[in-house]
Every structure is written in C-alpha cells, then in structure tokens.
C-alpha cells in the first residue's frame, strides 16, 4: 500500500498539469495536498517540508542560474536591434548566387543566431518573416523553404550558449562550461548536415532551389562592406562570449553578463539602443526570470514530497531494472522525454524529470555530460516533430494563409531524419565504455 503513494502522486500531478493552470502552482499545491493527506494516513512526515525555506534560499543564491537572465537579456537586445534582419540580408546576398544558396544562408544565419541569442521562437519567427517570402518569390520549393527555416531556427537549443544547457547543467550537477564544450561539435555537425542536405538536393534537382538572377545580387565592394558591417559585430560578440568560456577565462555567468553589455554596445553602434529596446529587454528578462524560478520553486516542493514518499527510489528501481541496462535506460528515457516534449515546455522537463533520471544514470554508468547533450538534441527534435512541435507553431504563426500546415509538416521530415541519425550517434557516445 505504502509503495503506491509515489506513483499516485506522480500520475495525479502530471494529470493536473494538463488542466492548463500555471505549472509552478499546480506542482506546489498538489505536493502540499499529498503531504497533508499522507500525513493523515501516517505515510508522510511533515518535517520534510521544513527544508523548503532553505531550498528557496538556495535557488536565490544559485550562481549558475544567474546566467539564464543574462543570456535572455543579451538575446532580446540583439533581437530588437534588428540583428537577424541584417544577417539574413547579408548572408542571402553572399550565397544567393549558388543553387540552394538562400536556404544555406538560412542554415548559417540560424546557427549564428543560435550562438548569439539562443532564443528559439525569435529565430524561427524572424526567418519566417524575412527569408520565406524571398525564397518563395525565387521559386524555391515550398516544403524545403519551410523545413529549413524551422530546423535552422531551432538550432539554438543545442548550440552554446544555450539556455537549455545552462538549466540542464544546474539540474544535473555538471559544469555548464563542459556542457557547452561538448555541445559545440553536435551543433556544428547538425548545421553541416543541413548544409550538405540542402546543397545535395539543389545539385540533384535544379528546380528545387534555383540561384538568384544576377540583377538581384549585390557584388564586389558593396557586398564586402555589407558583410563587414552586419556580420562582424555579432561574430565578434559570439567569439568573445564563447571564447572566454572555452578558454576558461570567464564562467558562463560572467560571460553572460559581459555578453549582455556587449549586445547593448552593438545595438548602440547600430543606433538601435533606445528606450523601446531597453524596456523590451528588461521586461522579457524579468518575466522569464519570474517564470523559470517559480517553476523551480514549485518543482522543489514536488521533489521534496515525492522523496518523502520514496518516489525517487521507485523511479530509480524502475529505470535501473529496464532490460538492456544502460542502452535500455537511454532508449526509455529518450522516448519519454521526446513525447513529453510535445506537450510540456523544456523547463518543466528539466526541473521535474531530469533530477529523477540522474541517479539511475549514475548507477548505470552513463556519462552525465553526454546524457545532457543527448537530452538537448532530443528536445530539439521533439520541438520540430508534427503535429505538436513548438517551432512549427511559431512558423505557422508567421506564414501566409495560402500555405497549408501539412506543407510545413512535410518540409521538416527530412530534417527530423537528420536529427535522429545524430541522436542515435550521440546515444552511442553516452553508453558506458566497458
């Protein structure tokens, strides 16, 4: 009987989350209710709850989490300073002359924006608004255009400095710097795979992604000037922020603060640093901070009570008992996270699910950094998968009505296939070497 409290609490709480009431308070309220009922039935010691103030204080003074608002601030300032617009125009002009060039431009800009901002919705929206009309006007294949935009705009999940990786680092107890370092390769491999796919397609079929006619291209000095003016500043910022982390000169938190100041300097150089930009960045940053931290506080309450019912032991026994050991564990965990990723946001997964899968992963000898990268790529794939993928909604929101939703779905399928291949490879890497 007493073994049932943990599973019951887990299922009821997960069900209640789907009512649509703010998750942070569902978690806190449901945990409290289970604690009280469990106490009445002599199954729960209310003393567990007195850890809450200390835990809350721990969240307040959490140095790693500080990096989250810093990178959000940096990303919003860059977004409001028309960085994406300028990059897309320049890269488009740079590559437009080749077959498939516009689409490759989208991949490159997606990767650059990912490294500079890490905010997925913003990249997909910007590229959907700017690049999609250009590609369609130049008789690019519709599905290819839609697919490349959603896939490239979602690269921010994995390419550092990704907010996903910061939160995963905090929750898994591994160094964010290590996660960033480990994510760089998979991020570049994905980017490269997209580029190869687009060029390959354009090479095989000359009607899929035709080259821009000559009169639409800027050339020579004009282009060079354009490239230097729009590409160099954000590139410098990326190199400084990521470089200082990788060189071990700055912590991710310090690099985030410097990046935010750097973004303001760039915006000022672009004459875009005004009250509107600043207010938007401050509002966005405080809202996300409030949302993320309260979700964490609610999750902490959930975790405390769940532990009080030995729920963590239940999960650990279940996950370590999967046939196939580490391989079985990775398959099950990734399937669960993939499916949950359709419905619930990354932060909920990171705060509720991830702390529960870390102990069994350690028991099974799975490398935590590799597991973190695997989860980040997995969520990215989940965000792209029809019909629930978040990125697809963002793109749908900015595409003209005459483009059917199924065209977006058909368009992302090849990119999902590419991600699954990379995912399988990463899963193989995460397996313990024996």
């Amino acid at each position: 009987m007493s073994d049932l409290w943990g599973p019951m609490m887990f299922c009821v709480t997960l069900g209640l989350i789907f009512t649509g009431y703010p998750v942070a308070f569902v978690l806190g309220g449901s945990a409290l209710a289970f604690a009280l009922v469990g106490h009445v039935f002599n199954q729960f010691d209310l003393f567990f709850l007195f850890a809450m103030p200390e835990r809350t204080f721990g969240t307040m003074s959490n140095y790693t989490l500080l990096a989250v608002p810093f990178f959000i601030f940096m990303g919003t300032v860059l977004e409001k300073s028309k960085l994406a617009e300028q990059l897309l125009e320049t890269i488009g002009a740079l590559f437009g002359g080749f077959r498939g060039g516009l689409a490759v431009g989208v991949v490159v800009v997606g990767a650059l924006l990912a490294a500079a901002t890490g905010v997925v919705g913003a990249s997909v929206t910007a590229m959907g608004l700017i690049s999609l009309p250009v590609m369609l006007r130049n008789s690019y294949n519709k599905e290819l255009s839609l697919g490349v935009i959603s896939a490239s705009g979602t690269l921010g999940q994995i390419i550092p400095p990704s907010i996903v990786l910061i939160v995963l680092g905090d929750q898994m107890g591994v160094s964010v710097g290590d996660l960033f370092r480990a994510a760089l390769m998979p991020g570049l491999v994905l980017t490269g795979a997209y580029v190869v796919y687009v060029f390959g397609l354009a090479f095989l079929d000359k009607n899929v992604a035709p080259a821009l006619p000559l009169e639409l291209r800027s050339t020579g000095l004009t282009l060079l000037r354009q490239v230097i003016l729009s590409l160099l500043p954000p590139l410098t910022l990326i190199v400084v922020v990521l470089g200082s982390i990788f060189a071990g000169v700055a912590t991710p938190t310090e690099a985030g603060a410097l990046g935010a100041v750097g973004a303001m300097v760039l915006a000022a150089l672009n004459r875009q640093l005004n009250m509107t930009t600043l207010k938007a960045a401050m509002e966005e940053t405080s809202r996300l901070t409030i949302m993320v931290v309260f979700l964490l506080i609610g999750s902490t309450m959930f975790a405390l009570v769940f532990r009080g019912f030995d729920g963590d032991i239940w999960i650990e026994e279940m996950l370590t008992g999967i046939p196939g050991g580490a391989l079985g564990f990775l398959i099950v965990v990734n399937l669960v996270v993939f499916i949950l990723g359709f419905f619930i946001d990354f932060f909920e997964i990171a705060f509720i699910i991830v702390p529960l899968i870390v102990p069994p992963a350690v028991v099974l000898g799975v490398d935590l950094v590799s597991l973190g990268i695997l989860l980040a790529v997995n969520l990215q794939t989940s965000f792209l998968t029809p019909p629930f993928g978040f990125s697809l909604f963002y793109l749908r929101g900015v595409t003209p009505r005459n483009i059917e939703t199924t065209a977006i779905y058909r368009g992302v399928i090849p990119f999902i296939a590419i991600q699954v291949v990379v995912l399988a490879f990463l899963g193989w890497m995460a397996l313990p070497t024996t």
């Binding site: 500080l66 985030g256 405080s286 931290v293």
Partner: protein, 206 residues
C-alpha cells in the same frame, strides 16, 4: 443588479493589480542593474587576477544574486497578473472563456492559495530567526542576509493578494459568460430574446 459589494470587490481587485503592476515595472530595471554589476565584477576579477592583486568582489557577486532574487520574489505576483507563469496549454487554449475561468478559479483556490500560505508558514520561523540575529553573509564584506530572506514572506504575501484579485476577476468572467442575469439568479435561465440577453453588464465607471 450589481450590489455595491461587487463594486467594492472590483475596486479591491483593481487596486491589487495596480500595486503589483507598479512593482513589476519598477523591478524590471533590476535586470539592467544585475547585468551591469555582473559585467563589472567579471572585468574586475579578470584584471585583478592579471595584475596579481587581490580584490574583495564579494559585495558585487552577492549584489548580483540579490538583484536576481528581488526580481522574481517581488515580481511573482506581477507575473500572475500578466499570465507569465507557464501553462501546459494543449487543452487550455481550446476551452471557452468560462471554462478557463473555472479552471483558474479552482486552481487558485486549491493550489495557489494553500501553497502560498504553506510557504509563509514554513518560512516564517527561518526568517524570524535570521532577523533576530541580524544574519549577514558568512564571507568578509558580504551583504546582510536578513532583509533578502524576509522578501520570501513579502513574495508569497503579494501572491496571496494577487490571488484574491484573480478570484474576483474569474468569478466576474464566469458570470459575464453565462448570461447577464446570472448576477441575480443562479438558476439556469432560458434564453429569452436576443435584445435582452445582449445587454452588456453595466460598467461601473469608477
């Protein structure tokens, strides 16, 4: 049709919203403060290390997370008013305004309010203790701890206030979305004729 009691409640709700909105637009400046403190401390740490000096950066490092804490502790209630707290909306966004109002009302009464009260009750002894000994940072040059810990109480107090405003608004939404007569009778009313049913609720132009 509308009792003066309803008017008072509506004013109370507007007052609470106004208070938390004012807090919200003030605390957002702390994000900029936090960025500037963070960058300053990063630069100072780099250069002091390079020059072989030792510099006590504790106040700056702590100042960063104090600003961070003030933002979410003071801003939680503002966030509730602005619907910032993340929802799983696969189902929620397909529901009618009335059903959403019911979910929000029930959720606030059975989740948010008890949780906030529990957090106040659980944190009070710790905060009182910190306050009575005038707790400060264990690190030399660190900031006093007791004010920032007291903000936990302020945070959940403000959340409770905002919950009251939330409840008033959800009840109103539920009434407005049944039919205009619902304020006087809770019996299901047959739809009489469109002209009467379409008369909007009188607005209290207060």
């Amino acid at each position: 049709m509308h009792h003066p009691r309803m008017l008072i409640l509506r004013r109370l709700s507007a007052g609470i919203d106004g208070l938390n909105d004012a807090i919200g637009v003030t605390i957002r400046w702390l994000t900029l403060v936090m960025v500037l403190i963070g960058a300053t401390s990063a630069i100072l740490r780099y250069f002091s290390r390079g020059l072989g000096m030792s510099m006590n950066l504790t106040p700056l490092v702590e100042g960063q997370w104090y600003a961070f804490s003030v933002i979410f502790l003071m801003g939680a209630a503002y966030g509730l008013n602005k619907d910032v707290h993340v929802r799983v909306d696969v189902m929620f966004e397909r529901l009618s305004a009335r059903t959403r109002a019911i979910i929000d009302l029930v959720g606030t009464v059975v989740c948010l309010v008890p949780f906030s009260i529990a957090m106040l009750w659980l944190s009070f002894p710790a905060v009182r203790n910190s306050w009575s000994i005038g707790e400060t940072s264990p690190d030399p040059g660190g900031l006093p701890r007791y004010p920032i810990k007291a903000l936990i109480l302020v945070s959940f107090g403000l959340l409770l206030l905002q919950a009251v405003s939330h409840i008033i608004k959800q009840v109103e939404t539920m009434r407005d979305n049944v039919d205009p007569e619902a304020g006087t009778s809770h019996l299901p009313m047959p739809a009489v004729d469109g002209a009467v049913a379409d008369v909007p609720n009188e607005r209290d132009d207060a």
